[in-house]
Amino acid sequence: MSAGLRGVGTGTEADTRGHDEDALGMSAPEQGREVHGAPDAVGVSEAALRRGMQLVVAGGSLAVAVLVPFLLPRYWTFVLLAAVTTMIVGLSIVVLTGFVGQISLCQATFMGVGAYASARLTGDAHLPFLIALPLAGLAAVPVGLLAGVPALRLKGLYLAIATLGFGAAVQATLFSSKTLTGGFSGVALERPTVFGISFASDLRYYFLTLVVLLLLMAFAANVKRGRSGRAFAAIRDGEVAAAASGISLARYKLTAFGLSAFIAGVGGSLFGHAMLSVNTSSFDIFHSITFVTVAIIAGVGSVGAAVFTGLMVNILPKALDRVLPGNLLLVIFSAGMLVQLAVAPDGIAGQMRRQQDAVLSWILRRRRVSGRD
């Protein structure tokens, strides 16, 4: 599996110059740019250095993601697996909030639709997992479009409340229905088998979800750099000017909700197959609130920021759990998040990007000095 994973990594790298860099916290202005900066004394432009650094960080992160389950006790594999599904949900928030500036407090609802759809498609319809997975994402799209309708009229807090209400309504009806979703007893899902290979173990299934995460991140990074991504960013930065430039606000806001719901739906499906069963409480609105809160603290300015959401929701509490009692932990965790938000309004990913820039300019300075000597 890890060989296949490497294949995916290099393939996308070659195909889509720049998306891997984006995967590690680059903001829009720096990405997808030609190397044209003045070469310094050693003959390497700043842009090339920057890209090299991004590649190192992206490759390093990927290497860590591949190696870490082998280095940690087995208990952690499941935690890592859960973290990757959360990263996918984090990515769905990056698309909606980071790209287009819209907010949704019903991402867990989209996850739920994906998970229940996947349970039906694999369990009742006996569809292969690889077909059921994208279909589960597609099943969440109309729900996302519906949730996005208030965004055509509302902004900010009002939009947040409207989507929260939407999530609560879906939970109270669809997710509580004994006939449709099994209600409180829920539905069972199985770990998948793909092309005869079983992904029943946590370890194997972890790598499968990791590949899906990477593919979705590549998709999102490509969208960001293209025509649709610019339309999204234009709406985020100024609706009046965006409309005057010929961009349909309604169309692109709904598109963003649809894409976000698709990604969250895929994440929900993977989550369901990870947990082996889901029920009403798996996707309640408090999960949605947690996801959005953490995602904003983690940063939504870049595709790579989604990684931090998973790390913070699933791994950080478990890691600190070993050294601190639970209640105290929660207090420290929350306080730390508030401090983090005060220090870096663009989130942890934004902060890391600035540090990376600092390192880069330090390298450049040194090279200039040595070049002169």
Binding site: D15, T16, S27, A28, P29, R33, H36, F219, A220, N222, V223, R225, G226, R227, S228, G229, R230, A231, A233, A234, R236, D237, G238, V240, A241, A242, A243, A244, S245, G246, I247, S248, L249, T255, L259
Partner: protein, 282 residues
């Protein structure tokens, strides 16, 4: 033949008439000026033409098509470009990305094509970037293309906004005070630029401007608004000689004083202040 025509536009805010029975027309290859004291309704008129504001009465025709009921982005798609009195650039984007937004409807590939980097996305991106490069070079912005747009001086930002609207390849371009905030030295450059874009892009212009030197220098026809009504229209020379216009600008007794020239905007504004019952801009 007329590219843009508004007939009998009327708008009132809370009983206050911001525009009353205003008709303007821009012909092919024409540069038309829209002038008037502050609060006369010029920007309100622009907002009606571009669809930001629904007029209470009147119709707007773009070419042959009645666009009165269409939202701004539809009018933009049909060939109407605009810039804003206060520059409205996309702050998080570079100069080039800002202008690429303008080329949105020059290509048509969708989000799935972008996400999967399908051939349609790649070729569309190539086309858009080539067109944008041409415009950036024409406006001497190519060297600045990778700078965050918000870090440019105001005059340059106006140029980026102009470039963005040009990237739409509009049939008619509505410019709201293109010289505001532009340095004295740069003003002549802007005048040249406007002449050149009419020539090279075959685009008609409707220009709101306080700088009378610009209006006299480049317009073929001028409309004068005052207190929401059309006060006068004609060639720049006719309008300049119109007594009512002089009174509206300079107040009673203003006939003896010279026409406000470039750089005396503050004066004309102060003079217009008294006869300015217009509502605030939106």
């Amino acid at each position: 033949m007329s590219i843009l025509r508004a007939v009998g536009l009327g708008v009132s805010f809370k009983g206050l008439h911001a525009l009353e029975d205003v008709s303007v027309e821009v012909h092919e290859d024409e540069i038309v000026g829209l002038i008037g004291p502050n609060g006369a309704g010029k920007s309100t008129c622009f907002n009606c033409l571009t669809g930001l504001l629904d007029p209470d009465t009147g119709t707007v025709l773009l070419g042959e098509e009645d666009v009165t009921a269409l939202p701004p982005h539809e009018r933009a798609r049909l060939g109407m470009g605009r810039t804003f009195q206060t520059v409205q650039l996309f702050g998080g984007m570079t100069v080039e990305e800002n202008v690429l937004v303008g080329s949105h409807n020059r290509v048509a590939h969708g989000i799935v094509a972008d996400g999967l980097r399908l051939p349609s996305s790649r070729s569309g991106e190539r086309i858009a970037r080539a067109e944008v490069r041409e415009i950036l070079e024409l406006l001497d912005l190519w060297e600045e293309r990778d700078r965050p747009a918000r870090t440019l001086p105001l005059g340059e930002q106006r140029k980026v906004e102009l470039a963005r609207s040009l990237a739409q390849h509009p049939r008619v371009l509505l410019l709201d005070e293109p010289l505001a905030g532009v340095s004295r030295q740069a003003k002549q450059g802007t005048v040249e630029t406007l002449r050149r874009i009419r020539r090279e892009f075959g685009v008609s212009l409707l220009v709101i401007e306080h700088d009378m030197r610009l209006i006299m220098a480049i317009t073929d026809f001028v409309y004068v608004l005052n207190a929401g009504r059309l006060l006068a229209k004609g060639t720049p020379e006719e309008v300049r000689a119109n007594r009512e216009v002089i009174v509206a600008y300079l107040g009673e007794g203003g006939e003896d004083r010279s026409w406000p020239s470039a750089g005396s905007r503050g004066g004309s504004r102060a003079a217009a202040g008294g006869a300015d019952p217009g509502p605030r801009r939106r």
